[in-house]
Point group: C2
Chain length 347, copies 2
């Protein structure tokens, strides 16, 4: 960033209000529930007789992202995607976001606009309105806090607590790819730091890199469930790893579960990366975070419906709580799952 500064516009030339004006200009309101967006003490929303869901997530430089390999536009996009993902995980439709950013003075106005370009792209893609926020400076790292709001009919909401014995456990997409992408980026960063003349070798890894740097929330799965008139008995998004999310559902629903290693969807690139790093790819899919896939349960009688649902796999079923939380491995061994998900408090 330092080099950019010489060519870019210093933030202080605009001031806080000028900067906010510049960043939010041309924002058009897309949802009828947004009555007033940016520009007053608060935004005004009207959810009429629907329920409102609200969720918030904080992305911190050096903990959640490394600016050495994270393009600012992708970072802006990701900050929205991870939040709307939580709204979809309630089986609700995201409608508004607020965004607060703390930026160090080493950033130029152009750099912040990059972040906002990504934010705007994501708002466009997920059809949400940016209705408020706060921009302030930071003495040190970059910090992005997003709150997302969405709506649902009361009987559509999917909590973590509704899974029942014999329910099928389903997951969208594939798991472990974002973590594989992170491993690759970290490896190349280490090589570059040891020898700055080395060029990073990222070829052939486009998919896992995109999963790490520009993850998508599963709007499509939310829509497919709606089309199929399925309300999951429980749902959660996979942000901390499959094991960790299964444990949340089992704990909140007071049930156990059995999932089958061979059924857990893993992409070819994730396999390849695990192999390159001499690691077990199941470690990636079970404990790697940031997949933002949807993990949900449906009653057994919905088997045909979910079986034919594009990009959804049945990976196991819910059992009595006393049976515990088990993975059946390829060689038919049952092992108790433990949440070894990414712990942001340990760095």
């Amino acid at each position: 960033m330092q080099e950019n500064k010489a060519q870019g516009t210093d933030i202080s030339t605009l001031g806080e209000f000028g900067l906010i004006k510049q960043l939010t200009k041309g924002i058009e309101i897309k949802n009828s529930s947004t009555k007033v967006g940016v520009g007053d003490d608060a935004a005004v929303l009207d959810y009429q007789n629907k329920k409102t869901v609200v969720t918030t997530d904080l992305l911190v430089e050096g903990i959640h992202f490394d600016l050495m390999y994270t393009p600012l536009k992708h970072l802006g996009y990701k900050s929205i995607a991870v939040n709307v993902s939580d709204v979809y995980a309630m089986n609700a439709c995201p409608k508004q976001v607020t965004v607060s950013i703390a930026i160090s003075k080493r950033f130029t106005v152009e750099a912040i606009e990059e972040i906002y370009d990504g934010i705007r792209m994501a708002c466009e893609n997920y059809n949400v309105d940016l209705v408020g926020g706060d921009t302030t400076s930071s003495l040190t790292g970059l910090c992005i806090s997003v709150t997302a709001l969405g709506e649902a009919e009361e009987n559509e909401l999917a909590y973590r607590s509704g899974a029942k014995v014999n329910d099928l456990i389903c997951v969208s997409g594939n798991l472990g790819a974002a973590y594989a992408g992170l491993q690759l980026l970290e490896r190349e960063k280490a090589i570059f730091e040891n020898n700055p003349n080395m060029q990073p070798d990222l070829s052939g890894h486009d998919y896992i890199l995109e999963r790490q740097l520009k993850p998508e929330a599963r709007k499509d799965i939310y829509e497919r469930l709606k089309e199929a008139q399925i309300v999951p008995t429980s749902m959660i998004d996979v942000s901390d790893g499959l094991s960790s999310e299964l444990m949340h559902i089992c704990e909140e629903s007071k049930v156990g579960c059995q999932v089958y290693e061979e059924k857990i969807p893993v992409d070819y690139e994730t396999h390849k990366m695990a192999e390159e790093l001499n690691m077990n790819y199941s470690t990636f899919s079970l404990n790697g975070g940031e997949d933002y896939e949807l993990l949900f349960t449906v009653p057994l009688e919905k088997f045909d419906d979910v079986e034919k649902m594009e990009d959804v796999k049945v990976i196991g079923h819910i059992t009595e709580a006393s049976k515990g939380i088990y993975l059946v491995t390829r060689d038919n061994t049952e092992i108790a799952l433990q949440a070894q998900g990414w712990n942001p408090l340990q760095e």
Copy 2:
């Protein structure tokens, strides 16, 4: 904080989920609009046929607060107060907050509990439910992001844009005290840094210190307006200084204004502090930030009502836009006001 660590509990012993559980245990839901609080992917709210307002603010260490003189409990309290203040400034009633905190590992669990004690106290005082959040680590400073939600009937909402020519301009409480408190704390900090054996001399300044360290949102004024059945034609909270807020109202309402220096309420301690520092106290009241008083306009015919309203002063009136934004000084000079409010982007 470093000394505490030896005696306190290391954050990593609890992990993210353990920490969140510990911090949010015993939280009871107070508002009927809160259907589900902490513990799922998102909180669920039901505003029925009322409008929802939503606002967010980010407090960053070294920019908005200095841990050298800010007690953690006060910091937690303040982070809620400044957000519900924005809800009151819409003439709406705050109902829920979400809180995200990024903390460096130098903090102990006990230190974070201090912050949450303050947050809980404020939630109690303003009758809002803590419904969600995120706790993560930070490589450097402490960062607190709060989003507040509230409700109002559509015809009760007070925007910045509704002020009309001849409306009376009113302000609650007094102005400049929080800034005076900040000046005092900064002076004593500088003295201490030069000579660590010196004890800070804060006696006789309790009021301005409290205004800086533990500001209150004006719930009482919101309630008095309701009792008096007054819906302000415009309203804003004074967070960046009176001049800056007057300019927001005038710009959004496309009007001008005239305020009278002698009518602007300033506390005795603020006067005294300005004198000690050889500064003009009007600089404090016009440009000092963080008062969190309510600045609002009412139609002329409400003069008697606001005149008798406790802790509310009429300080001027709205004029045609062409007349500009003017302060009439004690010696009857008219000077154009400029927003010299605190700019968080310049540090």
